[in-house]
Symmetry: C2
Subunit: 354 residues, 2 copies
Amino acid sequence: MEVKRIALIPGDGIGKEVIPEGVKVLKAAAEAEGFKLEFTNFDFGADRYLRDNGHLIDDDELEELKKYDAIYLGAVGDPRVPAGVLEHGILLKLRFDLDLYLNLRPIKLFDEKYCPLKNKTTADIDFTVIRENTEDLYISAGGFLRKGTPQEIATQEMIATRFGVERAIRYAFEEARRINKKKTVALCDKSNVLTYAHNLWLRAFNEIGEEYPDIKKEHYYVDAICMKMVRSPEIFDVIVTPNMFGDIITDLGAEIQGGMGTAVSGNVNPNGISMFEPVHGSAPDIAGQGIANPIAAILSAAQMMDVLGFETASKKIEKAVIRAMEEKETTKDMGGTLNTAQAGDVIAKFVKEA
Amino acid sequence: MEVKRIALIPGDGIGKEVIPEGVKVLKAAAEAEGFKLEFTNFDFGADRYLRDNGHLIDDDELEELKKYDAIYLGAVGDPRVPAGVLEHGILLKLRFDLDLYLNLRPIKLFDEKYCPLKNKTTADIDFTVIRENTEDLYISAGGFLRKGTPQEIATQEMIATRFGVERAIRYAFEEARRINKKKTVALCDKSNVLTYAHNLWLRAFNEIGEEYPDIKKEHYYVDAICMKMVRSPEIFDVIVTPNMFGDIITDLGAEIQGGMGTAVSGNVNPNGISMFEPVHGSAPDIAGQGIANPIAAILSAAQMMDVLGFETASKKIEKAVIRAMEEKETTKDMGGTLNTAQAGDVIAKFVKEA
Ligand SMILES: CC(C)[C@H](C(=O)O)[C@@H](O)C(=O)O
Ligand SMILES: CC(C)[C@H](C(=O)O)[C@@H](O)C(=O)O
């Protein structure tokens, strides 16, 4: 029997409540499909940070994590810790140090009743954003001059490398070919203003695009793409974009697909370990009440199964989630009456029945 | 009789078609209100650039422009000129060299039928974005190393100064007080990741905010604000944000208020000349057909009148536009049957009747 080992990082707040539901559903899917998943818990997050002298993730732990087949992350962030510390020390550290250079964010509406847009069907909102995940404004380079004075200036560096940009763009073209839908890749940048960093993106896109004559190329400035995502999301297939704009447009995407409750984020290194997480945060305002919606975490688990090669298990989880939505067997935020654990139970049951 | 002198820069594409309609409506408003507007045409744009050896705007012309009371701009951009050239050489040059440090972008839904969101009323979508307009990623600083090789890297610099950030934030607080609605200013940044440039923003916002105890302060990361703008735009009053994010969220704002057809952008220097423009571009695909929607240009003219102190004229233009929408006396993109000139005629007539 095939065995995969999953490192769990529930993290903070509702992360700790939704990851167990994902595990519940994963176990049901593995049992149904005849493979085995082993889970190991890692306690990185605010509690550990506060208890353990500011501990985040050290080099040994990073090496340890690399031995797993995948990482399944809840969320990090806690009001007791200064903003940015846990994000940088855990989430961004894992993305950068494990070279998780692709952030795969499917934008998919599962049920029209959750869509905030007029006249859009589930067929209209179904595309993928490939966000470059290791460069751009996220490299934490910058500084202050005369900090705290009226003459203060602060800088922040955006960096793009041909190496980093090319591997993201190439993946996008391959993905458009693989999913074989509209066979279109759209670049989202701001090369009319960012005439250095995004000029590199635009040139790389045009050059690599020539190797994919079967794939249509489109190009949108980031401001224009936000409008299009609201007005005519049906035009999109695969979008590739630098890190910062990817952050922005995928949150907008999460909203048009019905909100954070269903949005997933796969941080992927095709040659190494990958990490899967719901897009939502730790939501300190509702943490500890047992009311968090586990669906995004459960769909992240489905994405993990897909990337690990268990496509049928992935599809079964996705179908079970859609059934739960249709039957309104959901938490309150999606119109149901269940608590977090009950919502997870229902989906695990639907996976077994599938 | 009070006289104001307006410099017209129709620019490219549909810019040349919509500015004359704005002028038509402005003349009607000035006549109705008993003041006088004088218009002088400047031919900056693609035709001039191509005819005149790459001419954009030179220093003498810039000095000349400073003598006017306001600049009324159509749009720049033309497929015959490399992307970025006209944007940098005209639009951004004017914003920077005239120190137009505030970009005022009201997000206002005039008529529910144009809103792409479910269940939102005109009362729900009515807020203002103050976009800092002279710093951030727009300063054109950056470079290439090993350009054109597989080892290429490109950099782009984001700069924030206390001076530049403070004047934008201060204006936002004053504006929230002046309009006296929700008395709330929201900062939109990404200070959890951009720990230098946006940390300066966050500190400045908190410090200056203390001087405005009567104004509520809110803080959103840019990704979160995009979601909120779609889910619950009714929570916003005044938003202040750095240049690049301002570009993005105001286009999203334009879309939720019914699309580019009604979105306006005031580039303001409270101590000097200001420039008013529709948010839409030159739209080469529909230019020359007489079908462009002049409403955004006309509402920009209303914004110009407001800033120049002709508040009644401004209100009259806005009301005339709303009436045109209600009566579907609009161009095709807004459901009407009129061409550009007819749509302008109707609004000018409604201004006179107001
Ligand atoms: C928490 C934050 C650092 C992160 C990001 O900006 O990438 C989040 O918004 C995301 O999109 O995963
Ligand atoms: C044309 C472009 C340079 C400009 C910008 O990015 O500011 C436009 O998008 C705008 O918002 O006015």
